[in-house]
Every structure is written in structure tokens, then in C-alpha cells.
Symmetry: C2
Amino acid sequence: MKEVTAGVDIGGTNTVFGLVDKTGDVIVEGNLITTDYPEIHDFTRALGSALRSMLKSNPDLKLIGTGIGAPNANYHKGTIELAPNLAWKGIVPLADLVKKEIDVPVVVTNDANAAAMGEMIFGGAKGMKEFIVLTLGTGLGSGIVINGQMVYGHTGHAGELGHTTIVPGGRVCGCGRRGCYETYASASGLVRTVLEMLSELRDPSVLRDIPPSQLTSKRIAEAAAEKDPIAVKAMDFTAEKIAFGIINAIAFSSPEAVFLFGGLAQAGEALFEPVRKYVDSMVMPIFRGTVKILPSNVPESNAAVLGAAALAWNEFGS
Amino acid sequence: MKEVTAGVDIGGTNTVFGLVDKTGDVIVEGNLITTDYPEIHDFTRALGSALRSMLKSNPDLKLIGTGIGAPNANYHKGTIELAPNLAWKGIVPLADLVKKEIDVPVVVTNDANAAAMGEMIFGGAKGMKEFIVLTLGTGLGSGIVINGQMVYGHTGHAGELGHTTIVPGGRVCGCGRRGCYETYASASGLVRTVLEMLSELRDPSVLRDIPPSQLTSKRIAEAAAEKDPIAVKAMDFTAEKIAFGIINAIAFSSPEAVFLFGGLAQAGEALFEPVRKYVDSMVMPIFRGTVKILPSNVPESNAAVLGAAALAWNEFGS
């Protein structure tokens, strides 16, 4: 029997999952199921049934635990709490419900923590005890590892770097406050920066021909690669803001590395090079040169499943 | 034989020390020695000699380890590194030198980490696994405990919250950068705020009669207690800035409590009440009401020695 864990990533629209061995190979990939069940019990029943059938078709595999990445997850309680983008309202006892379906230990965390766990167990943070993963998507998620352990905090909700204030009185954030890190340092933050620059500056730009609702970080990165002046300035401004938050995080926990992950990180060296430059020039002298700024080393296509599975390996593996 | 640890606090001018039992009683208080030995070996010899003579006079005590709080201390290496306010230049192998004098294990950290350890072992953080201590003195030091462990980071220099940027482009800091937390949230930050308000506002104030070089946070707190309008506004502004940094720290590590310690915290409820109010109104909703803002519960008079001794108890105690 080969031991595996199940990695489950609950997204706003779809849920993906797979069975993953100790080395990070996805041994069996599940067919995605919709997240959009109005009733949580119907969702967990569908997930349980899919997992059981995968195990039945692969009798040589032994499931030792399940890890789940989900929005607004509380690690301590195994719950999803007040998730604005999911159909299930209030506090959902997800770990308990999944455990009823498939009788192995279940652990739950948010997707950024799962990404950090994936990096630690299967990716570029192997052997590191101090690092931070920033997921630069629509928002900015963060997973923080200190002394070799994920930081969940007293409430289970630690690691909300996206909602540290980097510009007092700055851009309005979805959390109801202003100037949060993620309103600048994320794919949507980059789009907002382009719109701001289109209003303030007179430079010509191909981005002036795209309706704001269709503007994406990918399109902006492409324009920057073609030396579009607004796109270039917006990328540089965004890199500075990303660096700014990294510098504050360094003063807090002095990590060995910061991994950038997600849509915006796809811009590659065009983003990493200026981020490194700004970190180096703005960081407190005592920390200069002590932190590596790296791309994630977990395959993007399977990252969510691998992160959730890594969480279970870390918790239940021998 | 009663087991004790030695707690040693190396200040810019004087070094204080004592022998401390497991319950936090200072069993023998040392006579302070000057820190101002131009040669580090002369200093460690004087300290060693003082410790040996205390033990000789108290043959019923068994020393199990020594903890040292010192500026710019590196926990991982047992060194003091590039301390601007000490006579010893470069990298000083303090732990090794002290171990040569008095043959027990030696552990070194900075004074804010020692204060946090004192709080955890002997003070108000007993039983807590997630808390932060802010020392509001001339600067702002911080000691961070996560998962029950002190955060030293990859470099050994983690916990520099005083040098997170809270006002981009703000006040000049001793670290060479601008807008650091400690330029606002500290005793000297409060003095700077008063000077700024004396220039900007036209309110009458007793503080206009004091030369800026003689203005202290204590005098400002007294004036605030007497409803001096500038002092009252400066205290409120400072409380808001203290709260601002706390809120960012909460998003990072979601602590159970934040302890305020040091000169500025002596202002008592006049400071704590507005800090709590600002934290509550500005913190991310998910963390509202989850964090206690508390005064230190380690006796101020012995805090430095107790913190250093606690460090040794935590490391070497059974």
C-alpha cells in the first residue's frame, strides 16, 4: 500500500482535488466539482463520494489524511467563517463534515497558508524554517512560516498581510478600510494603478484603448514588455509597493526568503528585478542582503491541490 | 541547593544583574557595574568576577545558566553586532566570553526580547502562546512570541517593529530612513509630536515654556493630566500612531495580547484608553475584539534583570 493524502482546494466557483504521495506527485487527479451547492451538506457529500470512488479505483493507495484550502478558513476550529464569496453563510464546520464522509483526519486552512505549506513540503522552501509566501492574485494572500511552523495566531486568522496599511488614507479596500497592501500589490492593484496613471499622466498608451473592466494584469505586463510608457511606470510603481510590504514583513520576522506566487508573479523578472531593487534600497540596513525574493517552485497548474495535500502531510505524515 | 539563573542587562551606561529563582524572585541583587569599559574583555572579567563573588557568598545557590539582554544582540550567534551606543565595535562574541568567566550556558538577546520573555515566564503573558511586547522608551523595541516561541528570524534580528514604516516619507529616523513607527510611537516620538503641534497650532500650552531639549514624555503626560490642550492632542495623536502599528502587527500574527512597557507606558490609562479605542475602530473587522492591550505585569524596577533571567530559565530550566 502506498500512502497518500488528499488535497482539496475550494475555490469560489470550482473545487479541485487529488491524491498526492509523499514526494509531491499527484497520483490521482479528481474531476473538479462545482463549489456552488447552496447546501454545504450536499457539497461535502459530493466531495466525499468523489474521494471514495477515487480510492476504490486505486486499491493500492492508503489515504492517511485530508488537507483542505478554503477561503476564510479557520485552522484552529476546522471551519469556514463568514466567507463573502461562498454560498454557505455563517460558520461552516467543514472539517467535521468531511470527516463524516471519509474517515481520516482532516485539516483546513486558507489558500495562502496552503500555498506556503506546498512551498515548504514540495517546493522552493524545503529545509527553510523562516519564509513568507505572498499570493498576488485579485487580492494579496500571505502564508507565514516561523520557526518551521505555519503562523495561525490566536484566532486562526493570522497572515493577513494584504490588509496591513501601507498608504494611510489610500485606496478603498474590500475590507472597508483604506490603503491596504492588497489595493496596490495585487493583480487588481496593478489595474487600479494603470487607471490612476492614465488619469494623471499624458503619455500615450495602448491601454487607453481597453475598457477598464477588461483591463488585466496580464495585458498590462505584455504592454510593459513592449515598453508602453504607462504600463512600464505602473509595473515599477507596483514593484515598489510590493517591496514596501515585504520590507515591513522583514522587520517583523526576518525571513530567509519571500516567495511571490499567483497571477501577477507570472510577469517574471520584469516584476522580480525591480522588487529586489526596491527591497535592497529601502530595507533597514541590518537586513540588507539577508532575504531572497523568489518565484514559487510549486507547479502553478497543481499548486492548490499540492498545497492542501502538503498541509495534510505536514500534519499527519510520519 | 536552590537553582537560579543569572539575569544580566547591558545598558548604554550601566549593567545590572541578579540571581533569580524559578518563581521570579530576585534572590541576590548585584551591584551595578559600568558598561563603559573600552575593552570588552575587561568588561566580561568584571562581570564574571561580580557573579562569582555573589555565588561564593550564597553557597546554597546553584547557577544553571545565564541570560543577557544587550543592544544589537544576535540570539543565534551569541554576539553583539555593530551596536552604535556601546564602546565595543564590530562583532563581539559576548556569550563565549561570559561562558569563559563563569562556566554555565549563556544566552543573549536584545532587551525587548528579554522583556517579552520576562512577561511570558514571570508576568502577564504566563500561559499565552501568541503575544507581543512593545517597549516604548527612547525608541520602540518589540519582542514577538508566536506558537509559544520567541521570534528571532533567519538573521536573529527579527522583531524590529520600531522600524516598520507607518508614514511613508515621514519623520527622519536614527536608522537613516523615514516614517518609522518609533519616530511617532515612543517617548521621543511624543516629544517630536509636541514640537510639531507647537509650531502648527496656536493653542496656549505650558510646554511652550520648556526648552525642547528638556522636554520629556513624563512632563507631557503630566501636562495632559492637567488638560493642557497641546499635551492632550499630542497624547491622542501618539495613541493613534501606537494603535496603527499594533493593527498592522495584528494582521501579521493575530496575537492574544499586546503589552506596552517602558517610559511612555507609565502614562497609564491616559494612554491605554485611547490606544484601545483606536485599535478597536481601525482594526480589520475579523480581528475586532480579539486582542487585549495590557500594561506589563513585570515589576518595572527589576524588569530588565527578570527578563534576562527568564530567557535563561526558558532555555536551560528543566
